[in-house]
Symmetry: C2
């Protein structure tokens, strides 16, 4: 009997251990690693975690239900770099060069000639009108699915002009951690960028974990038509919407339909998005990446042609927005 | 020792039972009730469940990863009724009446006069132009947040003209079940409707479980401005986008950024959405609610001014689309 009991005891104990192990694997008790490990321990990081702790604490008067935890992020200069210039502009330049053989007239037509001759002065002189011309010539005329292939092929081979890295490695590690941290706390995270919708969507899910329908941006007109009996959407050389400064809240309202409780930008193009976000009732958080790190990244603000941050610097304090000092607050820049 | 062993045995057994109970509560073994209980058992229901089983079965060659399980639903006539006319039009009529005291000129100005005198012939004679005039007069000029309050107040008090029910009870129970069933199977479900974005968003989450950012529809222009230092979005009397027939795939591409694998409509206004959806590669499902039930709902198709279904009836078979016969396939209509 004793042997039998011992057997039962051991057998039961074994099952118990197995079962407890199973239970444990479902509810780990180990200390969780810091979800914001690339952020310097200090006031900035503390303010972010305090905000998240507050709005997710159902006993707190500032609790926000998960369905209303909307966070919006600018892309260029906020989630990935924007120097020496916006990556989509570098894509357009590469497209002009790749398409030039089929367009001999470009060799003597501005602003194409400027691109082909790497003549930055002439390119700048062509102004906004010139840029739109380049954008339409290289990004319209094909179907949406053909354009997706073009973007993916470019990303697979193109290298950043100064670091030599693929562009998708020019993203900011602390921001990737923040996106994950917010999602783990029930936030729905959106991009709200001046960049093109269809330039971003092919890769935002793989790189940021942000699915295509949570990407808001600028767009051109598209047209439904049948080709050989099959429907396609053709990209037309006409601007539909530019998502920048005062139109960012317009786009947030149109695409998201709720006012965010957290917004993160880096330039005056994000000013109104931050203003709109932080003017709502209840607890809100507005954040601005301040590019202060000339050694590990770039240092620029008031006088930059990309990511110009002037009004945002002057008015961040009175609006209660947090300036994230890249040199001070980020221990690591890129993954 | 034996007593001690017995004690250990009992104690261990107790913990084991508790633990197994805990494990069991995490993985219930009871039979699940039919998620599509309001659908008649038959070919239609079977085809829906077979499709879902196929695309969610990771061992099947037609498996679709959850991130690509996009389903789009029309609203008027698909998720809720659209007779005697579109509910948003009834909302506009009620708004004209509610606002008439502040607009004495409406008593002698068409199409307002027609609405105030319940003169349907004169209202119809005013045509699309007249309707747009009514829509702009009643749905623009206020902020987006003021409009949301107006919609919510109307829904809380307005009654359907023939059933006397609140409009949000004029939704279809089989469709509510289908939305839940798809979500339970990893689908992300969107509305793609000709109705106004901001007319739908205040209530779609509570009624359909569809959050504001998963609602695609028609829209008017909005403008960001500061009022007393606070930002607001003002609704302008200008159409931004009409989401109907050939523009539904355009809107899907712009808002969702992926081609759906399932689309459900009820009228020729959904034709291109179904065509776009079912022309993609892999397994696809296109469905059309056919309003065949004059007793429990309404029976209409080719000659109806709402939800006209003509081409869809003729071409459903050759496109492989499933006609859902309301009288035959739905055991219950409203919740």
């Amino acid at each position: 009997m004793k042997t039998y009991n011992n057997f039962i005891l051991k057998f039961t104990g074994l099952i118990l251990v197995l079962c407890l192990t199973a239970c444990a694997s479902q509810q780990p008790v180990e200390a969780t690693p810091d979800p914001l490990a690339s952020w310097t321990n200090g006031a900035t990081k503390q303010r972010i975690t305090a905000f998240v702790n507050t709005v997710t604490d159902s006993t707190n008067t500032d609790f926000v239900p998960a369905s209303q935890r909307i966070a919006t992020f600018d892309n260029d200069g906020t989630l990935w770099a924007e120097k020496p210039t916006y990556f989509q502009l570098l894509f357009i330049v590469d497209r002009v060069k790749a398409m030039a053989a089929d367009h001999p007239e470009w060799r003597t037509t501005q602003p194409f000639q400027a691109v082909l001759e790497n003549d930055m002065a002439a390119l700048k002189a062509s102004g906004e009108h010139g840029l739109i011309k380049l954008a339409m010539a290289t990004q319209a005329g094909m179907t949406t699915e053909e354009f997706e292939v073009i973007v993916n092929n470019w990303l697979a081979t193109a290298q950043h002009p100064t670091t030599g890295k693929p562009y998708t490695q020019m993203v900011y590690k602390p921001m990737l951690e923040l996106l994950d941290y917010l999602r783990a706390n029930g936030f729905k995270v959106f991009i709200v960028s001046g960049g093109g919708l269809e330039f971003m969507r092919p890769w935002t899910e793989a790189i940021y974990g942000i699915p295509p329908d949570q990407v808001v941006g600028s767009s051109i007109e598209t047209k439904y038509e049948l080709r050989g009996g099959k429907p396609v959407l053709v990209r037309l050389p006409e601007i539909h919407f530019i998502d920048d400064n005062v139109t960012k809240p317009v786009a947030i309202n149109r695409f998201i339909g709720q006012r965010p409780i957290l917004a993160f930008g880096n330039s005056d193009g994000d000013f109104e998005m931050l203003k709109w976000t932080t003017s709502g009732s209840g607890k809100r958080l507005g954040l601005i990446v301040h590019h202060t790190d000339a050694e590990r990244e770039w240092a620029y603000d008031r006088d930059s042609s990309e990511g110009r941050l002037n009004r945002g610097l002057d008015e961040a304090a009175e609006n209660g927005w947090l300036l994230v000092d890249m040199a001070r607050d980020w221990q690591v820049i890129h993954p």
